[in-house]
């Protein structure tokens, strides 16, 4: 049933009948459903009026333009929400943000805020009791089966809470409004609530997209919330109280909210770590960095508690740190939220909160929970079984499939099965009343449409008190009448504007009050994992650059052969095509002579095939994936350049029918994109360990690619006519043609080419230059005191570099092995290649040591394991 709202409040000048009207006048709400903008009276609420009038005046086309801008900004900023399933290349789904925020009036906000804070205090008290004295269980205020039978209860964590007033640092609640206009809590999030970072990014984008309206609206700022979070985490530290090291523990880039982990760690200035970036020694937690082990004082955790310690909790976890709980027990590290706090997410608790609020606080709940019956009690169970067809049934434990049964939708047989399951383990189930959420205007298909909404709100403890974020993450369903607002189901997010009577003074984040002492920038360690990824970003970068330039040269030569049909062109093309296969390691490729005459299919495949190892698309994906994994280390501009490389390549080359012309301009754009990335990293990265790693990877790969090219082209003899064409192609594909001409002003000759591309230390495209730089970088890497002795990687690079420096062109070209190969040259290139591979191996072993695998041992391991 629909009702046309007679919107008397909106006085926008736009004519409702014109195509450009955003549909404010004809906004349709549903009968019996509360709407956030028009309530139940079909009249725009006073605090929405100015905002919606401004939108109406803007017109639908303009709003649509801004909506697209929103999506572009989000994509460029790398805001994603990974969706599980499907292939990994399409893992990252862009975050969706509706240009219409949810508005909350200042008076109502006070009520919500008080309710959220009360719940945080209450849940904190419950947590402290269950991991402490367990009085609630002993006195029967909470049934033992409800708590001890929940998989968020970890007996190993009992007694492990540090003595302090607030245990729960972060709390989040999902709120929805019922038909009567009252707000209800649907569920509590207590172990590692996500969404606050997305809320912040949404706000950042909205202030740009709706800058005009935002300026005119007294919206409360979010920065204070994050400042309180930083302060709260800082006060948790037991050591280094003045300047504790706080890390954000993430499950890694495959987690659906990885963007947020990277975003928050960069915003708050915390090192982003995965489990194997940390180690426990002497009962303390340490960060494995390029400069050795650094103590960690506080962990902001985004890993589920059961996965945090394979020794004390789930032994099959690869995401945690063995011994972490022991470090917690000794008070050497504090984790927020504490291990075990997921027990508060048990939906069965909702049924007991009113009683516990009176027990602990002598108060009624200010924000009620959705009506919940726990089946572990006889009367409630009976009620649930008698009313199955009008209730939602949930297991108290969130399982892998997160099943929720809607009683009304079940057939007879399914109902029987559910009934039997409840009777077999009654304490494992709750029933809840289905709730219809309120609607809120969303800009969908060029007009305002009412969509069901859920607000995720956030509360943080700053060490003294709880503070609610004046705002939050609002999510709406994509489809009309749908109640599933989750990101996994394709929901859209909204910014949430909590209105103030007058604009609050913005809180600057640049100098958090809690950390006024100047932080030594050089002391922020680079994790060995981040070092590893930087190294690989450098390597993929050069792989793309080298392959793209060579491919471009090949295409030019291919055109020549089409146009002039000269034998020397065709022979030169064959050399280049084979070189392309060698350089990109995509055998058999053009080593199969049959492909040489009709190379287009293979060339296109090398450019665009996403699943082909060594193709440009494959290397671009790997480059972006590695860069994304260390998203927190890039500046906004740098990340945007990474995004645009991939985006443009997809548009030009991958997603369209491909022609030689299109590929050529795609390659031009790709190379320009890489140059932009080079400029940004060169300009914005400090010359510390991170840059050393990036540039080392880059130099190493450039040397390898260049040597592969030289071996495949000039290390063997060609007919003079072909040779000069090959030389020219090699020079132009290494961006050295102009330099060659300027310097030698002569015809193409091999000795001069080798002088320039192999031995000239002043030429940034030469092998010698790469080795010299690599040698400097390797010397600068941190290493344990070893006196004047050289390390393994130093010895290797010194040997490679010295051999090259001692070579002369005359010697390199002095003997020819009878098959047309300059053997001294070929040997030098082969030996140097081999040494560089070993350099990469040694660096990986010494500096990226997080890769050592953990094994689980019990004394009852099967006897077959005997050595």
């Amino acid at each position: 049933m629909r009702s046309q709202s007679a919107i008397t409040g909106a006085s926008a000048g736009a004519d409702p009948d014109t195509a450009n009207a955003p549909g404010v006048q004809s906004y349709e709400t549903r009968l019996g459903v509360y709407d956030e903008m028009v309530a139940a009276e079909h009249k725009v609420l006073p605090y929405w009026e100015r905002f919606i009038d401004a939108l109406a005046a803007m017109g639908s086309a303009e709003i649509e333009r801004r909506r697209r801008d929103t999506q572009r900004l989000l994509r460029e900023n790398g805001v994603t929400y990974n969706v599980y399933g499907g292939d990994t290349h399409k893992l990252a789904r862009p975050w969706r943000l509706d240009p219409v925020p949810l508005l909350i009036g200042s008076a109502e906000w006070l009520t919500i805020e008080a309710g959220l804070k009360q719940r945080a205090v209450l849940l904190d008290l419950i947590l402290q009791d269950i991991y402490g004295e367990q009085t609630l269980l002993k006195k029967g205020l909470l049934p033992a089966e409800l708590v001890l039978g929940h998989n968020g209860f970890f007996h190993a964590c009992v007694g492990a809470l540090p003595a302090r007033t607030q245990q729960l640092t972060l709390y989040s609640a999902n709120l929805a409004r019922a038909a009567n206009g009252r707000l209800w809590v649907l569920s509590d999030r207590t172990q590692a609530p996500s969404g606050a970072g997305y809320a912040l990014e949404n706000r950042t984008v909205m202030t740009r997209i709706l800058a005009d309206i935002f300026r005119e609206t007294p919206v409360q700022r979010l920065a204070g919330f994050f400042k309180a979070l930083d302060q709260g985490l800082t006060t948790l530290a037991r050591h280094n109280k003045d300047n504790p090291r706080i890390v954000l523990l993430t499950p890694g880039p495959f987690n659906e909210a990885y963007f947020e982990h990277a975003y928050l760690s960069a915003y708050l200035g915390y090192t982003l770590v995965q489990g194997d970036d940390l180690t426990v020694r002497d009962g303390r937690v340490w960060l494995k960095s390029l400069t050795g082990l650094q103590p960690v004082d506080v962990i902001l955790r985004r890993v589920d508690d059961s996965f945090c310690d394979p020794l004390a909790l789930r032994s099959d976890s690869r995401l945690g740190v063995a011994g972490l709980l022991e470090a917690v027990r000794r008070g050497n590290v504090v984790i927020a939220n504490p291990l075990g706090s997921s027990l508060l997410e048990n939906p069965g608790l909702l049924a007991f909160l009113p009683k516990l609020a009176r027990h602990f606080l002598n108060e009624d709940l200010r924000l009620p929970s959705v009506a919940t019956w726990w089946c572990g009690q006889a009367r409630e169970r009976e009620f649930v079984l008698n009313n199955l067809d009008r209730l939602l049934i949930k297991p108290i434990n969130r399982g892998p499939d997160d099943r929720i049964w809607c009683g009304a939708a079940l057939g007879k047989a399914e109902q029987q099965r559910l009934r039997a399951a409840i009777l077999a383990k009654p304490h494992g189930y709750v029933a809840q009343e289905p709730m219809s959420f309120s609607t809120v205007p969303a800009f969908i298909d060029h007009r305002m449409e009412a969509r069901n909404a859920v607000l995720r709100s956030f509360v943080v403890a700053d060490g003294d008190d709880y503070h609610a974020m004046p705002g939050g993450l609002t999510r709406v369903a994509w489809d009309k009448d749908d109640f599933n607002v989750s990101n996994q189901a394709g929901g859209i997010s909204k910014d949430t504007w909590v209105l103030a009577d007058e604009s609050n003074a913005p809180v600057a984040m640049a100098t958090p009050a809690s950390r006024l002492s100047p932080v030594d920038a050089a002391s922020e360690p680079l994790t060995s994992r981040a070092a590893d990824h930087l190294f690989w970003v450098g390597r993929y970068w050069e792989r793309i650059d080298g392959a793209a330039r060579l491919l471009r040269t090949v295409l030019l030569k291919y055109r020549d052969t089409q146009e002039f049909n000269e034998a020397s062109d065709t022979q030169c093309l064959a050399v280049l095509l084979r070189a392309l296969t060698h350089v990109t390691v995509t055998y058999p490729g053009f080593t199969d002579d049959a492909l040489l005459t009709a190379p287009e299919t293979e060339l296109f495949s090398l450019a665009r095939e996403p699943k082909r190892l060594g193709s440009l698309t494959d290397n671009i994906q790997a480059f972006v994936q590695s860069a994304f994994t260390i998203r927190d280390l890039w500046s906004q501009d740098t990340w945007r350049s990474v995004d645009s490389i991939q985006h443009r390549w997809r548009q030009r080359v991958v997603n369209n029918g491909l022609t030689i012309d299109a590929l050529q301009s795609g390659l031009d754009e790709l190379i320009t994109g890489l140059v932009a990335f080079a400029g940004l990293t060169g300009d914005s990265m400090t010359r510390e360990a991170g840059w050393l790693m990036l540039d080392s990877g880059r130099r190493l790969e450039r040397a390898l690619m260049l040597m592969a090219l030289l071996r495949a082209t000039v290390a063997s003899q060609h007919d003079p006519a072909v040779a000069s064409q090959v030389f020219e192609a090699v020079l132009s594909s290494t961006d050295s043609f102009n330099i060659y001409l300027r310097r030698y002003r002569s015809f193409m000759q091999l000795p001069m080419l080798l002088e320039l591309l192999l031995l000239d230390e002043t030429h940034p495209r030469s092998v010698a230059y790469q080795l010299q730089q690599l040698s400097l970088h390797i010397d600068a890497l941190p290493r344990e005191g070893q006196g004047s002795r050289l390390s393994a990687e130093q010895r290797l690079i010194v040997k490679a570099h010295t051999d090259l420096r001692l070579s002369t062109v005359a010697e390199l070209l002095s003997d020819e092995d009878g098959a047309g190969v300059y053997s001294a040259l070929d040997d030098l290139l082969a030996d140097t290649t081999e040494r560089l591979w070993r350099v990469a191996d040694v660096i990986a072993r010494v500096y990226f040591s997080h890769s050592q695998a953990a094994q689980w041992m019990t004394a009852n391991a099967p006897l077959e394991d005997e050595l």
């Binding site: 002993k138 007996h155 020694r281 383990k425 041992m857 019990t858």
Partner: protein
């Protein structure tokens, strides 16, 4: 009765281990029929980090970490215990299993004769004991109650049969129906496999009995320890040929936990030495650890239970 127990575990690795962290539940705990006189560890290489604590079930735990590279880890625990010859289950009111099941669900509406305060003078202890018992009604990582287990157990659960008779019968049936076969199971073998093939080791039989009892609403726990073995007549006792052992205990209001050994069809008396107890094996694993590196590994375990007096 006095015993000295020497429990040695040696890991050999094909590659160096850079770091290992371990939890050992190898120290006998004290309770009414057992006192641990002494216990010490010999660990090589010597752990740089070593700390003792008590877990949620009251078991003694040692956390230790070996932080220097090593290719072998040897852990030996040497304990001396005194056992007080005492048995349980005699002279208690013959409460039916249904009475006890109902009492565990709702102690307030307890039947006459169920007055736990006789055994527990302080109310606080009653509450604590009841909470512990109720934890052991629930599924645990390695034991999920269900209809398969209930079907197997049902013949023992005759209506209004005294609980002790039920459990003795269940123990006797497991002893008779199941074949002791160390080649059949590993720690990862699920209970349903054990039930289907009627084979397993002491740990499986204890899990089985516990699962059966929990399927009928009774509280049961897993006990890890050792049993003194007698050499075959005329043969010398072999040092180190003993093994870890496991059995189970069931909760009886007022009396606490009564023990049963389904592997030997015996009620533990003065030859069962207790290390630790919990919901199942995963709570009381005698020695577990995480090693970084190590490659392939080999393991040897020896246990020696020596009667001193």
């Amino acid at each position: 009765m006095k015993y000295r127990i020497t429990h040695s575990t040696v890991y050999n690795y094909s590659q160096p281990v850079g770091l290992c962290q371990n939890e050992a539940r190898l120290q006998p705990r004290d309770f009414w029929r057992q006192r641990c006189e002494s216990c010490h560890f010999e660990i090589t290489p010597e752990p740089m980090d070593f700390r003792e604590f008590v877990d949620y079930f009251g078991n003694r735990v040692v956390y230790f970490a070996v932080q220097q590279p090593h290719r072998q880890l040897a852990v030996t625990a040497i304990s001396e215990v005194t056992l007080f010859p005492a048995s349980n289950g005699d002279g208690y009111p013959p409460l039916s299993w249904e009475q006890i099941r109902d009492w565990l669900q709702d102690p307030a509406g307890s039947a006459p004769g169920l007055r736990p305060s006789q055994a527990h003078p302080q109310d606080q202890d009653v509450e604590q004991a009841l909470l512990e018992a109720r934890y052991h009604l629930l599924d645990s990582p390695m034991i999920a109650a269900g209809s398969e287990l209930a079907d197997y157990a049902r013949p023992s659960f005759q209506p209004e049969r005294p609980l002790l008779d039920v459990v003795r019968d269940l123990m006797q049936r497991i002893y008779a129906d199941f074949t002791y076969d160390p080649a059949f199971t590993t720690i990862a073998t699920p209970l349903s496999e054990v039930l289907r093939h009627r084979r397993g080791v002491c740990q499986d039989f204890a899990h089985l009995a516990i699962g059966c009892l929990r399927s009928f609403g009774l509280a049961a726990r897993y006990v890890s320890g050792y049993v003194e073995t007698q050499p075959p007549p005329g043969e010398e006792r072999l040092i180190g040929a003993d093994a870890s052992h496991a059995w189970f205990a069931v909760y009886l209001p007022g009396d606490g936990w009564l023990e049963f050994d389904p592997t030997h069809n015996k009620v533990p008396f003065d030859r069962h030495i207790t290390l630790a107890w919990g919901r199942d094996f995963s709570d009381v694993t005698p020695l577990k650890g995480i090693v970084y590196g190590g490659g392939q590994h080999g393991l040897s375990v020896s246990v020696d239970v020596l009667r001193l007096a």
